[in-house]
Each structure stands twice: as structure tokens, then as C-alpha cells.
Symmetry: C2
Subunit: 318 residues, 2 copies
């Protein structure tokens, strides 16, 4: 039997998804459970086990070479543990060891969800064929992952590319992470809304006050809404330029709900990038929308598993 | 004949140094010429040729496997060209092609001077044995280089690790690079002096107004001098923490003249780092002084050559 598939798990605060993924990135089998995020750790694990049971029961399971897990962070790939902010029942939870008990003698690879998204964009999306790229999700939070030298760079603990908590304003507002002036504290959806509301923007009657509503107002040339997106774009540009100066990237791929604003975000982002990315070796840096959608976590976890399992059998003991 | 040596060139605005370096990092032969930085490009090249002639005339030259060049930046390793800010006669100057004409059929590797320093610290200094490290020079400017996955990460153009022009203050002062709020604009020696002078510090009679004088004043508890170093430390900490969030490093090595201030810099730097490096995977990050001295450029160029020549024969055509 050819082992030409990866199994993928995408673990978030809302749902736990699983899939069998072929070497073209197609999802052959998929399954999902809601995350019992307010329950104890064992209950959350049972939901993972149910997702895995759907996969292992499938006839194609025998073709699975490796298992990839993309998880909400923080994760610790070196220890095989996860401590997702939105799943309080899991703190330093030995997820890799637990999953290994359920998948037989296969390598299990753990990465953060930002790293998984980067793997997906490199394999199937806007970073395809790029040797050096930053891929970001701008949504409720701001996350990311890096491609360096043509390969995923998860870092020792699977958290590299964590651009949301890069400080771009060293005297700026305190961030829940403990730092100051973090990219996420300026550019995330809720923070775009916060700034727009503080400056006097109000959603229309019956509309909710989300980043999509601010984006709609900006498209209609509401100056406060435009400025809120410009400020987010400025923070993202400073963070992207910092990444380019530090590791040399040729493209920044931006996905997530806030990127759905389209040119309302991308136009000021490109403009701001010209102000921060000024050195000769970063000046050509392009910024483009992500192409992978809601399956990015699964596709990326599969890609991370495939890449790692070609290198070595990565199997930390719990 | 065993080819167990690297030849190294260290090209700066003041001097052009050359050496033959063995696989323990020892300099067997060394030579130096002043850089005729205000002359035309051909004259600067003649100084390089004289340095190389001293090396090729030596009986050990036959043992040289590869040639490494560390140059003041910007460099473009992919094109084999250099455009050092302080050598105006060289703009997109095809240094690799010119050096190849003088060294026979040997691979020639070009990296920026910050990358060379990082290679030296990884091989012989405070980053030895570390898989992931940022090595920085804080001096007239602020430069650096990265070790990732146990190897030098020069980036496609040899400029990676360029922490001096990471913006840590997105609304901050304009930088000559075109950006705003760059680390170098706050933390370099001249900028420490500028801040101290602006806040009322004055050098003693007959003393010159350099960063070393501000450091001496800070050691004597002059509050203005202390604050100038604290501000520099804050900017360095934000940049180091950004690097750690983006690529996961376990240590930041700081060298250069300003690092010579010792605890006047390192104590507030460690303190500030605790404020900016807050995520679980960056919290253990250590910051330590560099161990390689004035030979770092030569040792690092040799290390870069040795590393690259083991991988492939890197020989861009001019």
C-alpha cells in the first residue's frame, strides 16, 4: 500500500476539523466537531478522538504517512504540548503524545495555526514557488508563519512568524501579551473597530460594529473609517518591513477576515510599506491577498506533516 | 595538498583586511590596507588586489578551498555586487566577479558585515553551539546577522539580520534610510550621544563627546547619561524581541563599541527585554556580550565561505 496521504487536524477555539489530504492538497475525507472549549481538558480531547476516529475508520487511512496538527497557540512543538488561549482546559497539554496513541506508528507534527496557514499558502496559495515569504492572518488576532529558503520555518517550538506580537510602537498601548505597541493591538479587527468608534464612527441602524462594517464605511469614503484602516495598514507595514529586514522575504501574503476588506486595507498597506521597507534588498517586496480559504489550517497541517516526515520521523515522547 | 583553509576579506570604509583562516578559526596569515574610500572604484579595487596578492603569494594559499568576503553594506550576494555607503566609488560594484579573477577556480562567497559577525560569533563566540541566535553590532551603526536551524541565514542577498533598520517606533523620527523610528536611529553610538547632549549632558573638559564618554557618565550615575542608555536599551530590546517572535531565537549576542559600555547597556537591556519578550516561546531569551573582537569580520567571512563551499560551489558570474 502506498503511503501518499497526510492526515490533518485543525484545532481552534470554535471547531476541531480533520481531513485526509493527498499530495496535491486535495481533501479526500473531512470531518468536524465543535470544540467544547469551556469543558475540561479530557472532554476536549474526546472531541479530537472522535474526529480522528472518523479518519482512522476510513479505508484510505492505511495510505496515511504522517499526521499534522495545526493548533491555536501558544504551542510548544519541542515538548509536543499546546496551551490555546481560547481552550482553558488545555495548559501544557500533551496533545502530540495523546494523538500518537490514536494513530499508530506514524510521525506526528505539531505547528501553530499561523505556521499552518503559511504552509498552506506556500503549497497551494499566493506564496507558491516563493523561497522566502511571510504569510499572515489578520482577523480577531494577528498571526503568521514564515517560508525561508524554500521551506516552512516553524522554529523550535512551532511559533515562528508570530508577527502579531511584534512591537512597532515601543511607547505604545499595553498589549494583553504584556508588551507594548504590538501589531495586533493596532491592526486586528476588534482594534480597527475600537479606533473607529473612539474617533466617532457608528455602525448603521441594525448593523453590527465589526471590522467588515468599518470596511464598508471606508469604501463609502467615511474619513474616520478610512483612517482606522490606514492606521492598521501602517502597523502591518512596519511589521512586514521588520520581517523583510530581518530575514529577507520577497512577498507578504495577507489573509483572514480583515484582509477581506480588499483594497480598503491593501491600498494603504502598499503605500505604508513604501515608507518602511526602504533598504535596497526589501524595496521590491510585494504584498498580496491570501488564496487559501477556510481549509488553510487543514491543508497547512498536512503540508507541515509531509515536509517534516520527508526529513525525519518526528516523534517526541509525552 | 589538503584544501583545509579559507581565505577571508573584510571590507570596510576604513580598512581592507585579509587572512588565511584554518578550520579552528585561527588566522595563519593576515594583511591589511587602508581603504581609499574617497577614490574611484578602480582604485579601491587595487587595494583589494594588493591584499589578495599578499595572500596568494603565501605558500599556504594552495590549501585554500574557498574565499569569503564580508563587506560593509548594502551588498547583493545574489548579483555578487556591493554598494557600501562609505565607499561611494562602488555602486553595484561586481566585487565577486573581480575577486574571482584573482583567486583561480575557487568558490567566492559574499555576505554583509553583520552576517559575517554572526558567523564568527556562531563559530568562535557567544553563539557557539546555539541553533538559533541573533548577533548584533551596536556601534556607529547597528547591524546584525542570524543563525537559524544551526546555520548562518544570510538571506538571498546576504543582508538578513539587518536589525538596525527595523522600525520600533512607527511614528518616530525619520531615519536616513527613509524609514521612521529605526533601531539604529535610537540605539547607535552617535544617537546615544545626540540624546544625552539634547537633554543637557556635557563631556568633561578635554574629553570628546562619544558614546564611551556618555557610558562613563552613566557609570558615575549621571541621570541624563543613564536615561540615554536606557532609551537605547529599550529600542534594542524591542528589536530583539521582534526577532525572537518572528524566527525564535534563544540568544541575542551584542557586540560593537556601544556594547563596550558593559552593564550600563546590558542591565537596562535585560530589563527592557522582559517587557517586550513576553510570549511563552521568547521569555527565556538571553542577551549576552559578543566574544569575538576586531577579527570578527575575517573569522566570519571565513566561516561563511567554509559553510557555503561545503554546500555547493557558489560562483555567480559577473
Amino acid at each position: 500500500m502506498q503511503t501518499d496521504l497526510s492526515a490533518a487536524l485543525d484545532i481552534g477555539g470554535t471547531k476541531i476539523a480533520g481531513a485526509l489530504v493527498d499530495r496535491h492538497g486535495r481533501l479526500l475525507v473531512r470531518t468536524v466537531r465543535p470544540t467544547p472549549a469551556d469543558q475540561d481538558g479530557a472532554t476536549v480531547l474526546r472531541a479530537v478522538a472522535e474526529v480522528l476516529r472518523d479518519l482512522t475508520a476510513h479505508p484510505d487511512w492505511a495510505r496515511v504517512a504522517a499526521v499534522g496538527i495545526g493548533s491555536a497557540g501558544p504551542v510548544d512543538a519541542s515538548a509536543g504540548t499546546v496551551s490555546p488561549v481560547n481552550i482553558p482546559g488545555w495548559r501544557d497539554f500533551p496533545l502530540v503524545a495523546e494523538v500518537r496513541l490514536l494513530v499508530g506508528d506514524r510521525p506526528v507534527v505539531l505547528v501553530g495555526d499561523g505556521v499552518a496557514m503559511a504552509a498552506a499558502e506556500h503549497w497551494q496559495g499566493a506564496a507558491r514557488g516563493r523561497a522566502n515569504a511571510l504569510c499572515m492572518v489578520v482577523s480577531t488576532g494577528v498571526g503568521g508563519g514564515l517560508i525561508l529558503n524554500g521551506r516552512l520555518h516553524p522554529g523550535p517550538t512551532g511559533n515562528a512568524g508570530h508577527i502579531g506580537h511584534v512591537s512597532v510602537d515601543l511607547d505604545g498601548d499595553p498589549c494583553p501579551c504584556g508588551g507594548r505597541g504590538c501589531v495586533e493591538g493596532i491592526a486586528s479587527g476588534p482594534n480597527i473597530v475600537r479606533r473607529a468608534l473612539a474617533d466617532g464612527w457608528r455602525p448603521g441602524p441594525g448593523a453590527d460594529a465589526g471590522a467588515a462594517a468599518v470596511a464598508a464605511a471606508a469604501r463609502a469614503h467615511d474619513p474616520v473609517a478610512v483612517r482606522a484602516f490606514e492606521r492598521a495598514a501602517q502597523a502591518l507595514a512596519a511589521g512586514i518591513a521588520a520581517t523583510a529586514s530581518l530575514v529577507e522575504i520577497e512577498v507578504a501574503v495577507v489573509g483572514g477576515g480583515v484582509a477581506g476588506a480588499g483594497e480598503v486595507l491593501f491600498a494603504p498597506l502598499r503605500q505604508a510599506l513604501r515608507r518602511y521597507a526602504t533598504l535596497s534588498f526589501v524595496r521590491e517586496l510585494a504584498v498580496v491577498p491570501a488564496l487559501t480559504g477556510t481549509d488553510a489550517g487543514l491543508v497547512g497541517a498536512a503540508a507541515a506533516a509531509a515536509q517534516r516526515s520527508r526529513l525525519d520521523a518526528f516523534a517526541p515522547m509525552g
